[in-house]
């Protein structure tokens, strides 16, 4: 199974998108929001196979920032996310 220091790949994407994206200035009457973002980050991966043979992709942002004798292998994740505008084109 995936190493406990890693999380399923979907979580890393969800967590990277879990930021406050709405900025409201009541006094100035300005409402601003981030409608699209592109995130690029180094990630560590742990690819494991379960008993049924299904592949599971575990991932985490870099765990250590200090240069050590053993450097983790940093893969690169890039994704674009846009505001879900719904069916009414809001």
């Amino acid at each position: 199974m995936i190493d406990e220091a890693f999380m399923p790949f979907r979580e890393i994407v969800e967590r990277m998108l879990a930021f406050e994206n709405e900025f409201v200035d009541e006094e100035a009457g300005v409402h601003t929001y981030v409608y699209e973002c592109e995130i690029e980050s180094p990630v560590e991966l742990d690819v494991a196979r379960d008993e049924e043979g299904t592949l599971h992709i575990g991932s985490t942002p870099p765990l250590y920032y200090e240069r050590t004798s053993f450097l983790p292998s940093f893969h690169r994740l890039r994704f674009t996310a846009e505001i879900n505008r719904g069916d009414d084109g809001d």
């Binding site: 190493d3 220091a5 890693f6 399923p8 790949f9 979907r10 994407v13 969800e14 998108l17 994206n21 709405e22 929001y33 973002c37 560590e44 991966l45 742990d46 690819v47 494991a48 196979r49 299904t54 592949l55 599971h56 992709i57 575990g58 004798s69 053993f70 450097l71 983790p72 292998s73 940093f74 893969h75 690169r76 994740l77 890039r78 994704f79 674009t80 996310a81 846009e82 505001i83 879900n84 719904g86 809001d90």
Partner: protein, 245 residues
Amino acid sequence: MATENTAWALEDFVDSLVVELDKTRETLAVKAINKPLSYTVKEVALDLNIFPTYDGDQVTFVTAQPGQEGASKVSIQLGSITDQQVRATSKTPGAKDDINLDEIDLDKGTKKKLRKLGVNSVDDLKQIEQKNIDIKKVSDNSIDYTQLANQIRKTKRDQSPPKVRAVSLSRGEDDRPYLVIEGENLAVDPKFPPVAVINQTLAEVMSSSDKRVKIQLTRDHDFSHQNELVLTFDPFAVVKVNVKA
């Protein structure tokens, strides 16, 4: 830290990645119900540091681990794709009775050669036949088509074997006795008329269908209290029945 990384085929990795991204989309869609300014993931790219290996059959990859240098790079990009594009680039799903190559008792080498030609199922093979392509020629005479066709027929037959439900004795208008064998999937191939042997003597098959077979009885068959009936419906379906009179 992570334990030893598993070797994976690109297809498996992309499958798992797509499953993960589908789950992400589902979670974000649920989140969007209460939080209108939620995101949808449009495109994802992964640059992987990997070590490829080839076992003579398949290329697999192992993701580089801490301290490992000299890895190759593989970039996987997943973009949004419309339903129309999916239809244009995907093969029509196999029919209900389609047989996957894995289900056919073929040697590994033939399976490998067929896969290289893009043949993964019996339906794929039919498509090639319909386009008048000689598979023997395109495989440099390495695929024995007759053997392949026989194996496919055998596999198909194994999936719908003959089932004898009842055997009865009747008399015709000429008062000559005959046996009636009833069941399912009996004589299904019109190219092969069934052959019947009663008590080790050949018998005439009067009529046959997938549900019923009639066999003429004569004195030569020595029909008595205990009888042995062997019915060959086709080269892949032979049934032996003990008939008590």
